[in-house]
Amino acid sequence: MGKTLAEKILGLKSHSEAEAGDIVIADVDWAFVQDTTGPLTIRQFQNSSFAALASPERTIIFLDHAAPSPAQQLSNDHILLRRFAKEMGCRIYEVGDGICHQLIAEKFANPGDIIVGSDSHTVTGGALGAFATGMGSSDVAVALALGKTWFRVPESFFIEFNGVFPRGVYAKDLILYLIGKISADGATYKALEFGGEALAQMTMSQRITIANMAVEAGAKVGLFPSDKITRDFLTEYGRGGNYKPLYPGNGAKYERVIPVNLSQLEPMLSLPHAVDNVRPVTKVKGVTIQQAFIGTCTNGRLEDLAVAAEILKGEKRHPGTRLIIAPASRQVLIRAVEKGYIHSLIEAGATILPPGCAACMGLHQGVLGDGEICISTANRNFQGRMGNPEAMVYLASPATAAASAIRGEITDPREFM
């Protein structure tokens, strides 16, 4: 019997047969925390009387959620994290370096790795074929100390992508469509495994957008097999030697198979206040927006900024709409400057924020006012998500957000193509 990707990776890392439903103890390749969950992780680590990290080289701290810090308490949390990094000799990425998940993709994740992070969007690493999953502070604290953790081997859903994206339709529209179809709890405890002939044309940036949102269907991981695109990405980022082929076995057992024809998709939105409250843009357009936010671990990469810049070049944001843009990493920002995207965006009236989580989580840099509506390229639109329970968040692709910023209302990006 062939194995799913989840069974293959967990089997190798737990030195066992690892079939869906088994409980295994698996080696962890990378463990990380960010600045809003890291302080509790460190306290739990210290409460356990652990003296050292299992592998300082493979432990990473990211200062990205409050970056730069908007409050003295968060600045003090940063001090705690920096001090821990120094004492333990682990890696740390500073304010302005970028979002943890983007940096994990750029610098660390490899096919077949196990990655645990104290952030739910750790699933992003699945784009590179890593079994990457979010955990809480206690679990990550123990993983930091022991270099391993326990997993229930998940059952898998096979998501089969066919066709090609029509004009104006992107990976974000695909994953919103898929979450609408599966629902916010339809894949709870499961692995989403992506495949199909469309993968051959699907860039790493698109895969990252898709894997990033697997958790919004409840999934434990969102796994892509590795292929030429994976190898090229790893080579581009200086670790081509870490490439290894990784694909599900013939006859792997899937709990569900869900085919998606990309050719039939259209621009999609998640409406307030649930990610699975999905509608086509054509059914919602005309809703007035006060803010458009382009960025986050879901859609803050170079390709995303390129799409936004192309639509916004020579245009102006609507006077009633603030346009805020946060590149996902320092490297993304540098390349976007070099390619002229940032220039186009600033000329169109955008405010450029430092690389980091920015407005996504509602703690700074774009908190909404009462009754305000934001179109955002992030991955969550729960009530209160952007800092105000009286505000509303619509999730969309960078193209839809850019087009909407020009008109000041939710707009079909195809009208600008």
């Binding site: 969950t37 679990d139 022991l146």
Partner: protein
């Protein structure tokens, strides 16, 4: 060791209570001051919760409780509020594991059979919920032995301090 028989009153909540509902991101600056953070538990989703909850009460929710962020502060502040256990039709994966890691039981059962204010007695060993108000007994789904062991030790950190490793 945690108490294996719990008794308290049901506080009902709806479906899809996210960790942003439980403790919103706008309070991230209070995360290193848990007593202050706990004052804001469920502030948007159930504004009266903090003033009404009594020690030993049960949070009784619908489906997909705790979806969203991995913030372990969510079960931490629920436990600090005095809640003895969470009952839900289903729970999001990370929240479920975090709650157990904090020694806060999460029991998955048909919560439609429980009304707001019902007196409940829960036997964690047998996984039986006895609704003393309605007289209905409910079973709940089993958790893996490793989670039961962690729960019995009142959370992952005490468990690891005792065993030094995971014991399957």
């Amino acid at each position: 060791m945690i108490d294996l028989v719990l008794k308290g009153k049901a506080i009902k909540l709806g479906d899809n209570i996210s960790t942003d509902d439980i403790i919103p991101g706008r309070f991230a600056h209070l995360r290193s001051n848990l007593p202050e953070l706990a004052k804001h538990v469920l502030e948007d989703a159930a504004p009266e919760f903090v003033s009404k909850v009594r020690s030993g009460d049960f949070l009784v929710a619908g489906k997909n409780f705790g979806l969203g962020s991995s913030r372990e502060h969510a079960p931490v502040v629920i436990k600090m509020s005095g809640v003895g256990a969470i009952l839900a039709k289903s729970a999001a994966r990370i929240f479920f594991r975090n709650a157990i890691n904090q020694g806060l039981p999460v029991l998955l059962c048909d919560t439609d059979k429980i009304s707001n204010g019902d007196e409940l007695e829960i036997d964690l060993t047998g996984g039986i919920i006895n609704n003393l108000t309605s007289g209905v007994k409910l079973g709940c789904s089993k958790i893996p032995p490793i989670m039961s062991a962690i729960l019995k030790e009142d959370g992952l950190i005490p468990y690891i301090q005792k065993h030094k490793d995971f014991k399957l």
